[in-house]
């Protein structure tokens, strides 16, 4: 399992590198090589590091460990077919972790990044109404049950296109340089990452790599069903490229607009699933 975890991390970092490359090409730049993010992680891990004097020391370091740990949990949940709710809980929790990254340093830029991450969490919570739709259709939230249901009835994507859309929106909001990535927009320097440098940043990059893999993999498992490994990898790449296109072709929204768009989508979905619940 350790091998899989390391593999997932490196593959996720590779996907993020491809993400950067695709965005750069669409914008007419050469862009960095696709393994740039892997090099990045290694580079940071070799740098001299310390903890800023203003920081809350335990939290500053502890939050890095928590960040990696929660995505290891998420990986295990998807792999073992655990409850989808745990997975969604971890998606939300990642926002709190970003919040912790930002606030623990005492830097004003980090603080604003952290505040923005909580704001965007507020607008993402309702997106999880799609859980209700999945329960209505499959009668269960265990990923193993959902894959079993898909083996009989075909992909969930066809049965619940709107839930898949909601989840795609969540993926998009977790991608860097996307329309909803207000937590790392440039007017607040690097947002919540500003003060985490050196090995702490390397730890954060490990978390990001694992996060990207788990997000894409869980989307495939939940909405397309169990597939052979090569198919999964190819689909992850495909989804990642589609996300890159979405990120490259849309401007980053202002924080207020970002929250408004997400909330409106969530409200519409809530009505849809309420109607679905009444019909079914």
């Amino acid at each position: 399992m350790i091998g899989e975890l390391i593999g997932a991390t490196i593959f996720g970092l590779l996907l993020l590198g491809i993400h950067r490359k695709v965005i750069a090409r669409i914008q007419g730049r050469p862009g960095p090589p696709i393994w740039q993010e892997i090099l990045h992680t290694l580079k940071f891990s070799f740098k001299v590091s310390w903890v800023p004097r203003t920081a809350s020391r335990v939290l500053f370091v502890g939050i890095v460990l928590v960040a990696i740990a929660i995505w290891v949990v998420a990986y295990l949940v998807v792999r073992e077919g655990g409850s989808l709710l745990i997975l969604f809980g971890i998606y939300m929790l990642h926002k709190i972790v970003e919040h912790g990254f930002g606030l623990s340093s005492g830097s004003p830029y980090g603080k604003f990044g952290g505040v923005r991450s909580v704001i965007s969490a507020a607008s993402e919570i309702p997106l999880f109404v799609s859980v209700a739709g999945i329960v209505l259709v499959t009668g269960s939230l265990l990923i193993s049950d959902i894959t079993a249901w898909q083996a009989v009835h075909g992909p969930l994507l066809l049965a619940l296109p709107l839930a898949a859309f909601a989840m795609y929106l969540v993926l998009l909001s977790k991608m860097p340089w996307g329309p909803f990535s207000i937590v790392e927009s440039k007017e607040i320097v690097s947002g919540y990452k500003t003060e985490h440098f050196g090995i702490w940043r390397a730890g954060l990059e490990v978390c990001n790599g694992l996060k990207t893999s788990v997000l894409l993999y869980s989307f495939i498992v939940v909405f397309l069903g169990p597939l052979p490994l090569l198919w999964v990898l190819a689909l992850m790449l495909g989804i990642q490229v589609s996300l890159s296109f979405a990120c490259a072709l849309t401007p980053m929204l202002a924080p207020f607009d970002s929250v408004t768009v997400q909330s409106l989508v969530a409200g519409g979905l809530l009505l849809y699933f309420l109607a679905l619940g009444v019909i079914l």
Binding site: K47, P52, R53, L65
Partner: protein, 67 residues
Amino acid sequence: MEKTTALGIAVLCGAAMLLSAAGAAAGAVPPILAAAVLVLAFPAGTIALFVWWSAGEGEEDIPFLGY
């Protein structure tokens, strides 16, 4: 943290993960325990590894000490 301590923690975490994974595969360790070990040891081991290879040898110039 001392360089050797960091290496020790990293090795310990790696060994714990390997042992629990092997034990779970052989059926000697309950899978939930192996998972718990993985969750605890993976982040700690990763950071300890980074600390180990980025830690100074004690011969460098004093780095910029911040604010």
